[in-house]
Symmetry: C2
Subunit: 202 residues, 2 copies
Amino acid sequence: MAELSDRSGVAVPTIKFYLREGLLPRGEPRGATRSSYDESHVDRLRLIRALVDVAGLGLERVREVLDVLDSPSSSLHQALAAAHQLLSPAPEASPTEASAAAVAQLLAATGSAADPHGPHATAVAAALDAMHRAGQPVSDEGLVRYAQAMAAVAEAEVVGMTTEHRDGALTYALLGSVLAEPVLLGLRRLAHEDQSVRRFSG
Amino acid sequence: MAELSDRSGVAVPTIKFYLREGLLPRGEPRGATRSSYDESHVDRLRLIRALVDVAGLGLERVREVLDVLDSPSSSLHQALAAAHQLLSPAPEASPTEASAAAVAQLLAATGSAADPHGPHATAVAAALDAMHRAGQPVSDEGLVRYAQAMAAVAEAEVVGMTTEHRDGALTYALLGSVLAEPVLLGLRRLAHEDQSVRRFSG
């Protein structure tokens, strides 16, 4: 267990707690006081820490994600969708029909397989409503350009994902989703700064 | 003043407060109890509300932005930079030299006019460090792809900006910077969902 702690970076008392709670499968018994743990235990610990530290989930939510992941009948997509749904809080207000329709039309026009009634589509529609209310509506053309840029981002990201280990794939997807956000937003600010120097510093 | 309140959506007592504080210039006197306000007052009120409501700035910070904006010697770029700097809190820890160098190299390679020692470059470097610590470093190639996607976003955004009125331009830039963030991040999640259905739902 000391070795498992070293390799995963998770303290021994925390590992014992996860074992008691059933979040981490027991190791193979090796005598009366020792157990043997393998790579899958390291992956599982890293996933739990990503869910707790990065996604900010409580233990019950973590259990829900692991249950989907461990269900033999669920696809990796279903596990990813469950995890992402927990990451994306539902918007406070329902989106307007106009914005919901704009997002549905965007998905249809770009041949996206994403659910037009799912939580991400709803979140985008609600965010479009907020821009509309502030007097800065996004045009249909502007929305397509945004979507194309984000599709290029997602395509580059999914290339780096190995799906051999479901826990590892889920950790990669969760960490990447959350941790890359400030990188992307910061790069957008840098791009704005570049445009601003070029156009407005005269 | 009732008309100014109608057109700007800001309540009369709030307008009076901004006048007293010197954030909003006085109108042209029209008799003993009336003043005349023009489009510039509407623009200024919208900007103040954007700074307070969207950017979450306190009145002293609002005053700093307006001072830069109203200084005849400052360019629109300087006003935008001052506003964006207030929007982007400095990262908690200094970035590592490796990440700072990676961002500086990116800016040089893409011919960006953004400051490699500025707050946005520092924020990106610190975000790259966080990904590295989590075991998911971004490769140089991945960083270039991210930057290209965000440059396409920023270029599409700056096209919609009119610079005739400095207050209006600044409001557009500030609101756009902040309000478009959830749209972009939501579209990235939708693109991940699309990829996930295609690749992992079997």
